[in-house]
């Protein structure tokens, strides 16, 4: 048999052109991002412990700059690889069908599977907004935790979050964001398991349900914060 011309096992760079390798990198980075969603959520939910909870969390985190920067570097790497390949794969896929069908009946695709690039784009754009909002803190400067301190002199993250989400517009942006994340993940979780070869005839239907559960959980857990703030439950 002819040896692999691009050399699956020899040239490190060229292996990334392989259609399966590309999808595996997307799957690994995607699952890494899903894992981050869960870690990030633990921090968010400390809001329910009141100002003491989330302000302490914020202060602890920022007293450990190496940890914060390691997380940021990891995330940037995951996002860059995932977004780059997401765009590349989508362009290649569109090029593979230059003439569309006049009549097309889909049997299996889902809204989520057909809109990965668009939900991805929404995630990316609102991610920038989110960083400007809570990291750079220039969306609501009057309640920026960098300047506003609580009674213990800690950055008042609690007030920053609660006063922001009282503004319906800001809450809506985050609702759209989490909707996009939920759709993206509802395909991404089972797709990545299949891509990594971790699915079979029996397990694939289970992974499809698992993906829906993960998506629903992430959506409900994250949006519960603006929802409870708007409802006046968290003040």
């Amino acid at each position: 048999m002819a040896p692999a011309s691009n050399g699956c096992t020899c040239s490190c760079l060229k292996v990334f052109a392989n259609p399966v390798a590309k999808k595996m990198l997307m799957a690994i980075t995607g699952i890494g991002l899903v894992a981050f969603l869960f870690v990030h959520l633990i921090g968010n939910l400390s809001l329910y412990a009141g100002p003491g909870g989330i302000n302490a969390y914020g202060q602890t985190l920022h007293s450990l700059p190496p940890v914060v920067w390691a997380f940021r570097a990891g995330l940037i790497l995951l996002l860059v690889v995932h977004i780059w390949l997401g765009i590349k794969v989508t362009l290649e896929n569109q090029a593979a069908r230059p003439t569309p069908y006049a009549q097309r009946t889909y049997l299996k695709v889902t809204l989520a599977s057909r809109t990965m690039i668009w939900t991805g784009a929404i995630i990316g754009v609102i991610l920038v907004y989110h960083i400007l909002h809570f990291t750079v803190q220039m969306i609501c400067p009057e309640t920026a935790a960098n300047t506003l301190k609580d009674t213990l002199g800690r950055p008042d993250v609690y007030t920053m979050v609660v006063s922001s989400f009282r503004k319906i517009g800001i809450s809506l942006v985050y609702l759209v964001w989490m909707g996009a994340v939920a759709l993206h993940v509802s395909h991404g979780v089972h797709s990545s398991l299949q891509t990594m070869g971790l699915a079979g005839e029996q397990t694939l239907p289970l992974w499809t349900r698992l993906a829906l559960c993960v998506a629903a959980f992430v959506f409900i857990a994250y949006t519960s914060i603006p929802a409870t703030i708007l409802a006046g439950i968290v003040k």
Partner: protein
């Protein structure tokens, strides 16, 4: 029954094409879809017009030559059925039927409904075989193969290479086709020896032929007339991983 057809007509690879409206009259529900087209073609020839060019060969659902997207589904609406085995009783009198060729960059159109599918052959040529010495016929049970492995290989070997998976895939990907051959050979001791190399060269050939990537939409499995499962795609992915750590 009478039917209202919209058929893709295109004189040659670079000629402009369009959907042409044609009438199929006095069609028996017992005819196959191809026999219905034969009737329409007879009519066209009688009227001095160019008949519809379409691919067909065995007409018994085993060769994979027939290839038409009927009302937006490769091989039409009946599950696990090739166009030649699809019967007109699946349709109703007065129905409108859209008939289009397989659409993919890797399948250049030749004429009307006929496309060139040799890209699939080139994927097989890249590695869809075992490099064994020929000679005398080997002894039947000289190499013992566990029954489950033989079953997996046989299920994968059902692929008739028609290309419906590519036609159905929103990305024009040939993953289901390629995974069937990779899985078939990787399941058998004779094919195991070259499994790592095979999965690499065949997926590479897929890329070079201009097929898209797999997004796990699973349209391919739904369109496959032989019921090839996407679990073979997962198996191809496992084989690819194994090849990297070998």
């Amino acid at each position: 029954m009478n039917l209202n057809l919209y058929v893709w007509r295109q004189k040659g690879p670079n000629a402009p094409g369009k959907l042409e409206q044609l009438q199929a009259k006095n069609i028996s529900p017992d005819m196959s879809f191809l026999e219905m087209l034969d009737e329409v073609n007879e009519d066209l020839v009688r009227n001095g017009k160019e008949p519809i060019a379409f691919d067909h060969d065995c007409r018994e659902g085993i060769c994979g030559t027939c290839s038409q997207v009927i009302n937006g589904i490769p091989h039409g609406p009946q599950e696990r059925t090739t166009v030649c085995q699809l019967h007109m009783r699946k349709f109703k009198d007065g129905d409108s039927i859209y008939i289009e060729p397989w659409r993919a960059k890797a399948f250049p159109l030749i004429k009307d409904l006929i496309v060139d599918r040799s890209a699939l052959d080139r994927i097989i040529q890249a590695g869809g075989y075992t490099s064994c010495h020929t000679g005398g016929v080997p002894d039947g049970n000289a190499i013992l193969i566990p029954k489950p492995d033989a079953d997996t290989a046989m299920d994968a070997a059902e692929c008739i290479g028609c290309g419906a998976c590519v036609a159905a895939c929103p990305n024009g990907s040939a993953m289901l086709f390629t995974s069937a051959k990779v899985s078939q050979l990787a399941s058998l001791p004779q094919g195991r020896a070259e499994a790592a190399q095979r999965v690499c060269v065949m997926t590479e050939a897929m890329l070079n032929e201009g097929f898209g990537n797999c997004s796990n939409h699973y349209e391919c499995q739904a369109a496959c007339p032989k019921g090839i499962k996407v679990s073979f795609i997962a198996k191809l992915n496992r084989e690819f991983l194994k090849a990297q750590i070998k």
